[in-house]
Symmetry: C2
Subunit: 225 residues, 2 copies
């Protein structure tokens, strides 16, 4: 799928702003003033505006007419709904991967997952990186570009650093994560499509539930002050 890439500058700008939000450098709920971003990137407001519109289409930010843009604060129910959809799609990808994956593919999955085995020393963010890699590998094997694209777009709806926090703060979740991945690999190896789909689905739903709980706790804290 050849990316037409309308304009290098606008796309780069969008990518840069997205990265800053994903990394938490621009926090959830923060105001995004076009002039600030433009000066911070050394360009004029025009490409910034278009980039913001692109991010809005992805759902990462909200733009109120004449009132500016803010990084969207996901509601817990929205996180749950989104992860239900993602779970379905990742399950589909995993099922499709069963008949397509090779021995090399399985080895790669194991390697990606071993990086986060219980007891491993992890730098900040590396556990989400490994997690992302695991899923991306499966999307690649699934052999459906559109499917991969839709999942990617869904994942861009929420800041990535939050998922990192969820994993970092809870060794228990990290361990669960690891074992869920192991079960998925086992199902792929056994060529059990039904189980592969079910395990992946459960895995994503569980991750979504953790994320939704994190946002619930966050909003409770914010409301109290």
């Amino acid at each position: 799928m050849a990316k037409p890439s309308a304009s290098a500058l606008v796309d780069d700008t969008a990518a840069e702003i997205r990265a800053r939000i994903m990394s938490g450098e621009i926090p959830i709920g923060a105001q995004l003033r076009q002039d600030d971003l433009a000066k911070s990137l050394g360009i004029s407001r025009t490409p910034v505006r278009e980039a913001l519109r692109q991010l809005q289409a992805g759902g990462l930010i909200e733009v109120m007419p004449r009132r500016g843009a803010v990084v969207r604060v996901p509601a817990p129910w929205d996180v749950r709904e989104t992860y239900e959809v993602r779970a379905e799609l990742e399950g589909m990808a995993c099922e499709r991967a069963v008949s397509r994956i090779t021995g090399d593919g399985l080895r790669e999955l194991r390697r990606a997952n071993d990086a986060v085995r219980p007891g491993a020393i992890l730098s900040a963010g590396s556990s989400t990186a490994a997690n992302d890699e695991f899923h991306t590998l499966i999307h690649g094997v699934a052999g459906n570009e559109r499917l991969a694209k839709v999942i990617r777009e869904i994942n861009e709806a929420f800041p990535r650093n939050v998922s990192a926090l969820v994993l970092q703060d809870n060794p228990r979740h990290r361990e669960d994560n690891f074992h869920e991945h192991e079960r998925i690999i086992a199902a792929l190896e056994a060529e059990d499509a039904e189980t592969a789909r079910r395990e992946m689905r459960a895995h994503v739903l569980s991750a979504g539930e953790q994320l939704a709980r994190w946002y619930e706790r966050r909003s409770a804290t914010v409301f109290k002050g």
Copy 2:
């Protein structure tokens, strides 16, 4: 899900251009010059540019840097991939609808489908309209906003008038369509989630196959001259 709606003008512009493409007024493969669109809409090029970028994000058009935008010509394999994803999501929606649909909901579905029963007199485009309504009703009942949104976005990737042509030119397909809908309604009424999902999945896949074949015939014709 409150739509932030960044700017009325840009969104309206995007909607207008999208409508023109969907209706076939702007044909597949046509060049889209910003200046023409701007003059045709009585506005400046700025909102047109942003609207085009929005349409590009949806995949309806392709923008090559410095070379302008064209209405994307979907490749048959792309149609098939996309409809596989859509089939999965519509199946999910249908499964979820089983436990949520009411008697009134079932009646509405029957009414929407009866409009296209074999032998009914149909005006141009009304069969796709009825088809769209049938699916939209189910999305509403499924009770997952994000799911409905993702399906909507996927549907916006291909011009709508082509689907209309596919149905209009083939009474046989229209009839098949009607019976597939009937089976889906029956499964919903019987509260058989598994069957509802399977029937909807098959229904969407079949529609996708027809659409892909249409594009195959089209490209064959074009290449011959």
